[in-house]
């Protein structure tokens, strides 16, 4: 037991150190090098170019990367446990497709979704799909059915999006495609609070279901036998994970691979599937990965993440760490 505790402590210390380094790089390193003195908070520098770069570009980008990392990783982990499927992720439920449809409607078909424009479109789309999935979840006990419904919904919505794409002009199409590549640079200072609030609520819902998640690793019947309220746990996890995935997709676009790959990375590092450890561990790993990817501002985010994510997922499959037996 002792050595395991050690491993956990070292793991968390390592992750926090990495986050600190990447956060520093994200804030002060870049096309324009900044230092603390450029940002002096009291002096007349307040409106300087450096200060504006810092507060209006770098801080929102850092926050976007951190919140996305947390929400996608935690959503991915809890869905993998719920579906008992190591390759499940935030996107299997069709949530990202729903968000894409909202964005496509707003960009390509000219629907207006109010103040946040594209972001509201994504949020509305994600929420509509989430409610359909929740409706199905309340009707069926079987998680496999849910998985299939989510995937089918995704295909259906993708087809709708492709119809919209056919009828759109090239400029809107360009904006839509660039949204689909994912980016941490779209978050504005106003949006930070909404994103943070959604992440917080999602995290609370999932964290309150830790007992369910831990017992559900051995199947729903087993969990019931331990006195766990399976139905409630499932609904809370689905709701929380959907909210996390929807918020991240709305603000940063469909960010690939974090949801699938990070829980496996966290497991490799911590060698436990106890969600009391694995959930914070996944959140921190997600932050590290997203912060690292956000350093490459010139390359599309999803390209960077996939270059890291694909080898990891392949490794998991080949080594069989996730789907042994």
């Amino acid at each position: 037991m002792r050595s395991i505790d050690h491993r956990i402590l070292i793991g968390f210390a390592l992750l926090i150190a990495l986050i600190a380094i990447f956060a520093y790089l994200a804030l002060f390193n870049g096309a324009v090098g900044l230092s603390w003195s450029d940002l002096s908070f009291y002096s007349s520098h307040h409106d300087s170019v450096e200060s504006r770069i810092f507060w209006e570009i770098r801080v929102p980008r850092l926050v976007a990367a951190v919140l996305s990392g947390i929400s996608l990783a935690v959503a991915g982990l809890s869905l993998q446990t719920l579906f008992r499927n190591p390759l499940a992720g935030p996107f299997v439920l069709g949530i990202s497709s729903g968000a894409s449809l909202g964005v496509a409607l707003s960009l390509l078909a000219g629907f207006s979704f109010g103040h946040f424009g594209v972001l509201s479109g994504a949020a509305v789309g994600a929420l509509v799909v989430t409610s359909i999935v929740m409706f199905v979840a309340s009707r069926f006990e079987n998680t496999t059915i849910l998985l299939i419904v989510g995937l089918l919904l995704g295909y259906f919505i993708d087809a709708l999006v492709s119809l919209l794409i056919m009828g759109s002009d090239s400029e809107s199409l360009r904006v839509y495609v660039s949204w689909g590549m994912g980016s941490f640079s779209r978050l504005t200072f106003d949006g930070i609070w909404v994103f943070a609030l959604c992440t917080l609520v999602g995290l609370v819902l999932v964290s309150l279901s830790v007992r369910y998640l831990n017992a559900a690793r051995m199947g729903d019947d087993f969990a019931k036998n331990l006195g766990v309220n399976v139905r409630r746990g499932r609904v809370m996890v689905l709701l929380g994970a959907s909210l996390l995935a929807a918020a991240s997709t709305a603000f940063c676009g469909p960010v690939a691979f974090v949801g699938i790959a990070v829980p496996h990375l966290a497991f490799m590092l911590f060698k436990t599937s106890n969600h009391r450890v694995l959930m914070p561990a996944s959140a921190l790993c997600g932050v590290v990965l997203c912060l690292a990817a956000s350093q490459f501002t010139k390359i599309p985010l999803n390209a960077v993440l996939s270059l890291v994510g694909v080898p990891v997922v392949l490794w998991v499959i080949v080594r069989g760490g996730g789907i042994r037996k």
């Binding site: 830790v210 007992r211 051995m218 019931k224 036998n225 006195g227 436990t272 599937s273 009391r276 037996k325």
Partner: protein, 243 residues
């Protein structure tokens, strides 16, 4: 020590079980009592309804009609019930990322708080359960690396850690060799006597049932019959095994 023995733990009142009236497992309602200190063997052919019976007793399946009273009560909150009764099954999902110790520690779930933490007491109880089933040597191994026989003992250790009063076991010795089966049944006797547990164990090992269990319950031809283990054969309860 013996003052808690013979208290009634579990009672079936006119119990009809199965999946709806058309698919009821028994044609005559079952009346049965399980007392502290009892080890009762549940015998019957494959598909006779042993597992359905056990599932109904522990509340995983609602009765078609009649009542199951646990400590005199039929309505229980799931979490509360899990502190008094559990069903140990040898099949089902196995998590590929869980160590033996972590699995045994799941037995403490009904006692854990909202964030599923484990107290010092919980850890001690888990250690004791591991020691009782001789699992110390592979407590840190992955669940998927175990042989079927080893896994049976791990499943039982988890139930011991759950500290229930009523222990239901579904064919626990299906994968065990002869010495281990014998050990298992002596352990069940010990748990019943020392901890005042009531144990109902389904098995195909008629000789162990006769030798180590106080009573034998048989499900055959949609009838449930119970007799003292010594007299079961004479009373014709085991006739179906010889046909």
């Amino acid at each position: 020590m013996s003052d808690f023995l013979n208290t009634m733990l579990l009672k079936c009142e006119n119990l009809v079980l199965g999946y709806g009236h058309e698919r009821a497992v028994v044609s005559t309602p079952v009346n049965f009592e399980l007392n502290a200190g009892d080890v009762v063997a549940l015998l019957g052919e494959n598909g006779s309804g042993k597992s359905t019976f056990l599932k109904t007793l522990c509340g995983l399946l609602p009765p078609v009609s009649g009542n199951v009273l646990l400590l005199g009560k039929s309505e229980w909150a799931a979490r509360e019930r899990a502190r008094f009764i559990t069903l140990v099954r040898m099949s089902g999902v196995t998590c590929d990322r869980m160590t033996v110790r972590e699995f045994v520690s799941l037995g403490r779930t009904p006692y854990a708080g909202i964030f599923d933490g484990r107290s010092k007491d919980d850890e001690r109880i888990v250690d004791e359960a591991i020691a009782l089933l001789d699992l110390e040597n592979f407590a840190s191994r992955w669940l998927t690396e175990l042989s079927d026989g080893e896994r049976s003992r791990v499943y039982l250790a988890q139930a011991v850690a759950q500290q229930v009063k009523v222990l239901l076991l579904d064919e626990p010795n299906a994968f065990l060799d002869i010495p281990r089966s014998r050990k298992l049944f002596t352990l069940l006797q010990k748990l019943a006597k020392e901890r005042g547990m009531g144990i109902l164990v389904s098995t195909h090992s008629v000789e162990y049932a006769e030798k180590y269990c106080g009573q034998i319950m048989v499900i055959a031809d949609k009838q449930v019959r119970v007799a003292n283990a010594k007299n079961a054969r004479a009373e014709g309860l085991l006739k179906w095994t010889e046909d």
